[in-house]
Symmetry: C2
Subunit: 318 residues, 2 copies
């Protein structure tokens, strides 16, 4: 089916503190971008209004006729059909509120709600590092570790929207205790938070950011050596988790995104060694299994949210 | 679309030593079953002829007109589009031979080749414990541990047919070395082979089968206590792996099959404790995450192989 001339979709990324939205056409060209300004501490109604305002501004400019739909990426567990956030550490005031239905009412347009890491994974599949494949796993490396799984070009969401909780895969036996109740979760050993903690243990400094530990790793002295050891341990833990995902999915592509990517040179060697050690699938599929950097940065979520308008069935509205 | 009247499919399960085939209609009723008799040691041509003979016998009886297709389940890694076994410990003489093309030529019918654990998972989804869901993971507990993943009603195969290698997920950190090159793979700690090894370590006996260790576990004496400890360790390791799968997929259903299922009463308590300990997703989705016994036994693979005729696109033949 040929797309309508000038057909576009709006993707909106609702972060923990601010929002961004973009109009993107069917070919993946960003037509327009806006950022919000409201403080989220102002509460639910302020955030809802901020979303409506951002979307309306874009729609007024590009027209209602060509709008395929609106995708909203949010942190938290999503009840997809209902268009509701069941649980969100960052946006607790939006939990169990009928966001999708309410936005559809206020905007009179088709709206889809999606988990932010799922949206980012889908964005990378559509226009990023995964554009040539239908199956990929994305790990987002930030203060925590999130994940998104794309199978056959579609998001795997699970029965309660909790699929892809890859930060809680066990990377270190009897490792650091995690708030989830388990121990050794990969996000306790390979996130930015873990980098900060390891840097403290090695007496590199208090509360160093992962960027600072990355900068230290470039030094030729003993401090540099310690900082490189931090990245090596992080890479090893990440590799254990990747091995597990490779053994499970045998997908062609595993992507890493987030603020720690610049340290790739320091963590990737240990990561790839651990993958090879723990995954015969990886060793046997040399050339068919790729572990790469995501390429869309923090726009991946905007792309993915927008793309949903074209690939998802319109849920039956309550 | 209404199925043809009397439409049926033929499923064939090629084990390590023998074959079975069945005609199954669209409603899941088994119309007919045959078993092969050839010794597989007779080699490739003998096995190919055995398959053709078994299928022809069924087809002659039920007619060519109603035959939707033929599905063949085999142990090993399958190149699905090509219909070729790339690697099989049990059937090395069939590796890289164009099985699907050759059977299509000899039988002049549509043939699909599938991994046996994938076929079993699909069979359970169609007519077994998974008939009410579209997403499930099956773990087959035998001398090794295999797996099949069904997402949206379809098999996840991976880029080289190696998806679902769940026996090699790490259950025990720095655990027993595995032939795959890693350590602590769940099949080294929770398979029938592992039960035999643990029973030896606890001086319960040499080369006990898992059935024998199950029988011992029913005793009230110290021997019974040791045997129950074996099952408890096995259950704990299995639970770690299930937690990992639940965190990854958030599917509604995880099935166990194989000869060790009768020992469920002895391993399930430790298994469920480990799942709860290592998966917040499990704890949070109480009532939506089910861990159950598969119900089709060794007919699951026949059902799944047959079902493929109705759900897979016909691959382009070379």
């Amino acid at each position: 089916m040929m797309p309508l001339v000038n057909e576009y979709s709006i993707g909106l990324d609702l972060g923990g503190t601010n929002l961004r939205a973009a109009a993107i056409d069917r070919s993946g060209t960003i037509l327009d971008k806006v950022a919000g300004s409201t403080q989220f501490s102002a509460g639910r109604e302020a955030v809802m209004e901020e979303m409506v305002t951002a979307i309306s501004r874009i729609r007024d400019k590009h027209g209602v006729g060509g709008l395929a739909g609106i995708g909203i990426g949010v942190p938290g567990f999503i009840a997809f059909k209902e268009g509701v956030i069941r649980n969100s550490n960052n946006l607790p005031f939006l939990e169990n509120f009928p966001i999708r239905a309410e936005l559809q009412r206020r905007l009179a347009s088709f709206v889809i709600l999606e988990n932010d890491a799922n949206a980012a994974a889908l964005g990378e599949k559509w226009m990023g590092a995964g554009r040539d494949v239908d199956d990929l796993v994305l790990l987002t490396l930030g203060t925590g570790i999130g994940g998104g799984i794309i199978s056959g070009g579609r998001v795997i969401r699970g029965v309660t929207g909790m699929a892809g909780e890859l930060g809680h895969l066990i990377a270190v036996p009897n490792g650091n205790p995690c708030g989830c109740g388990s121990r050794g979760c990969v996000e306790k050993h390979a996130s930015a938070t873990a980098i900060t903690a390891m840097a403290r243990l090695l007496q590199l400094g208090e509360n160093l950011t992962s960027k600072e530990v990355y900068d230290l790793a470039g030094r030729a002295d003993e401090t540099g050596e310690k900082a490189r050891a931090v990245w090596s341990v992080m890479g090893d833990c990440l590799g254990v988790t990747l091995a597990l995902l490779i053994n499970t999915f045998n997908f062609p592509l595993y992507l890493l995104s987030g603020g720690m990517l610049p340290a790739w040179e320091f963590f990737a060697p240990a990561m790839l060694q651990a993958v090879a050690r723990h995954s015969a699938t990886y060793r046997l599929t040399h050339g068919a299994t790729h572990i790469q950097k995501a390429t869309l940065g923090n726009e991946a979520g905007l792309y993915g949210a927008a793309y949903l308008s074209w690939i998802e069935d319109r849920p039956v509205t309550a």
